[in-house]
Symmetry: C2
Subunit: 337 residues, 2 copies
């Protein structure tokens, strides 16, 4: 699920792009990488300001190795991916400091719910990932609007988690929207509309549409927690029984965030973490993940978990790491042509 | 698979809409009916000039009864459906008399091929239908450009098949494109680009992408034959072994067209026909199908075949006809509110 938001362009907030302005290209480029093995709308692949490649490299390697089919959906992307995608008829998110972040939240939710229902009949389970720069800041905003204790608990694509900037941004958004923390405990779609982002409405709708029939792995880090809160509020308890969060070791071991601390406030939903380890990789661009760059995104952790599960364990982390290194090598060499 | 084309607005060519101008709404309304059980972009449902309802009513009833998941793709629709759909990044078709009917044929084909590959991993088989008014005329044009003997062999949504008007339209298109019949025997995508329609490139791409892994039912009447010809030319013989055409009794028994006569020129591919019979229906709007109105469309025949196959015969034509009558009744009563 992709979307873009102006929130990601606040300097210092997101590392999901070489610079803030280019974050509009990160989601479409990520999904081009997933489907094609290379990006079309940008040269090379999305990188952090330090040149560390997108976690979509991990997702792509895992999904391809396990032959897991991929469908892309857009909840509102300023730049359209140059691959086929499901159009959910949303618009790019505004800067949450406006207090009116997402238009047509209800339509996005409903379109995604319809697709979720259809997709639930096509397989044994679904893995839903996301690419939206700035997504942990919008996550914090919706969590606070719904009354959860989430300050200093959301993750970051940067090594040094810019909590003060996130809190300042979120408080500006809540002020513009004229709401106090907790005011929207019972109205998650309104919270998303005021201070969230388009992927939240879309993933919540898709999960609610699909979870009656199949288990769903919500593949992401703390960005998935406001969505979980929306689902908990908007659906019967049955939906929650069919859910797990799938993420990376880099998220669950992150000392600057606390995914468990958020999830336990919402629902009893398992958090699975893929034990990927790049510490002995020959590539500095991958070893950097061990320092806390990127950490998660584009369903990286969940894709690894799904690949291992689908292969009933015959795909091992060792194979996967080799495949990721091969793809990294190919991408770096193509880039330098 | 949906698209619109200006060709359908030539008066007297298509009955896929109450009047020629409204044919832009027929494909999006058809797929809204499939997914939602009702249309959103128009009141009621698409009808012929005589008020006979769209064959999407048959498809919707069959797919819902058998719980067959539905995904919509658009190869170029002037009016966007108000349901989620896969965007293949094409444009609506021009009038084929211009000799430059479809833009970006290669991109549509390639996008659809990618989706076909992904979808082939989600199920045991695929059923691909179409909604594009004017589609039998564009079919005739591409068949002639590729050198097939197809004059007076394509079907029609009208009782009285307007062969002279179709031939005149097609010949004007071939003339504008400066090609003689048979010139494009080896270049179906070029033929589609000059005198075809967007769905042809899309369905050919999807079939070629998917047919390596799963069998495919091409759900349509004579409109599917130029697509079959494109596939035969562009893929190995293996793809053809995984294909069948699935249509209605009204097409195979139609005295004004000859689907078998076209298919046998192209490849040895089975033609299955759903034995739907509305002759004893209590509704005149359904009995009209027995006079040769509509005949096929929106994968009606193929959907019925798939519903029977998926249920291993426990869904019988009798149940299906009852369900179609119920849906007809509901739609007619909603319309008159």
């Amino acid at each position: 699920m992709i979307a873009t938001t102006e929130t990601a362009k606040i300097p210092g907030l997101s590392a999901a792009g070489a610079n803030p302005e280019i974050t509009d290209y990160t989601p479409p480029a990520d999904v081009e990488l997933l489907l094609l093995g290379k990006c079309k709308c940008i040269p090379g692949v999305p990188v952090t300001p330090d040149g560390i490649p997108t976690p979509a490299l991990i997702s792509m390697s895992a999904l391809r190795l396990a032959e897991i089919p991929i469908l892309i959906a857009s909840a509102g992307s300023k730049v359209k991916p140059l691959v086929p995608f499901i159009e959910l008829d949303g618009s790019p998110g505004r800067d949450i400091r406006t207090g009116r972040a997402v238009e047509r939240v209800g339509e996005i939710f409903e379109n995604a719910r319809i697709i979720g229902e259809e997709l639930s009949e096509t397989g044994d389970y679904l893995v839903i990932g996301e690419s939206i720069p700035g997504g942990t800041t919008t996550a914090l905003a919706v969590l606070l609007a719904m009354g959860f204790d989430a300050k200093r608990k959301v993750s970051s694509s940067m090594v040094s988690n810019p909590h003060p900037l996130k809190i300042e941004t979120v408080e500006a958004g809540l002020k513009s929207a004229q709401i106090q923390p907790g005011d929207l405990q019972r109205d998650p779609l309104k919270a998303i509309g005021l201070v969230g982002d388009p992927t939240m409405a879309a993933i919540a709708g898709m999960v609610i549409g699909a979870s009656e029939k199949v288990p769903i792995l919500m593949a992401g880090g703390t960005q998935m927690t406001p969505i979980l809160a929306a689902i908990a509020e908007m659906s019967s308890g049955e939906a929650l029984k069919n859910l797990a969060i799938g993420t990376t070791r880099w998220i669950v071991q992150d000392s600057t965030s606390d995914i468990r601390g958020i999830v336990t406030q919402i629902a009893r939903v398992p958090i699975l973490a893929a034990n990927i380890d790049f510490s002995s990789s020959k590539y500095p661009g991958l070893r950097a993940y061990e320092t806390g760059v990127a950490k998660e995104g584009v369903g990286a952790g969940g894709s690894v978990i799904a690949a291992i599960a689908k292969s009933r364990g015959s795909i091992k982390l060792k194979h996967l790491t080799e495949r990721i290194e091969k793809n990294y090598e190919r991408i770096v060499s193509e880039k330098s042509l």
